[in-house]
């Protein structure tokens, strides 16, 4: 997105919105991770205690998901940037003529 036409007040406002969203997203990330690892690791309800096996699974699940998230974020950033460059190039090509 091209923010160059926005004034400082608008940019500051949008920055605040982004920060609020990041906070919400972090909480979603946390609750989502708990849900994921719970569903993938805990299936035995013969006791209310976590078994050693379940605990190991949960720790690995957490570790793996954090690494997974890092990698996919990196790729997403790259692909998204590529896409935006492509769109900018297409828009520049269409600039001289009027929109059909």
């Amino acid at each position: 997105m091209d923010f160059s036409t926005f004034n400082d007040a608008e940019r500051a406002h949008i920055q605040r919105l982004i920060e609020q969203k990041q906070m919400r997203d972090f909480m979603k990330f946390y609750t989502g991770l708990v849900e994921r690892c719970f569903n993938d690791c805990v299936n035995d309800f013969t006791s209310k205690a976590l078994t050693t096996k379940e605990e190991t699974c949960v720790l690995r699940c957490t570790e793996k998901f954090i690494k997974y998230n890092e990698r996919i974020s990196l790729r997403f950033g790259e692909l998204n940037q590529e896409l935006m460059q492509q769109q900018a190039a297409t828009a520049a090509q269409q600039q001289p003529g009027a929109n059909p």
């Binding site: 007040a9 608008e10 406002h13 919105l17 993938d40 699940c61 793996k64 996919i72 997403f76 692909l79």
Partner: protein
């Protein structure tokens, strides 16, 4: 140079803000969907260890790239339909 910045209050155009918000929503929603889809497709739930192995890593890279391609194809098809 303070007169450039300290002077009158700038007004916020709600349309600009709404546009940025929509864009942000679109990008984060797409990201979340990629995260969920590619996790299902690439990460086995046995959790034999906490590392990403080679196969999982390659799968993630390809999965993300393909998701973008599908996004593009669907977008183009939708655009054509709505013409």
């Amino acid at each position: 140079m303070s007169y450039l910045y300290g002077g009158q209050q700038q007004t916020i155009n709600p349309q600009n803000v709404a546009m940025a918000e929509q864009e942000l929503e679109m990008v984060t929603d797409t990201f979340q969907r990629i995260v969920d889809s590619c996790y299902k497709k690439c990460i086995p739930t046995q959790y034999l260890d906490g590392e990403l192995n080679k196969g999982e890593s390659v799968c993630i890279d390809r999965c993300a790239a393909k998701f973008f391609k599908v996004n593009e194809k669907v977008g183009a098809a939708l655009a054509q339909k709505s013409q």
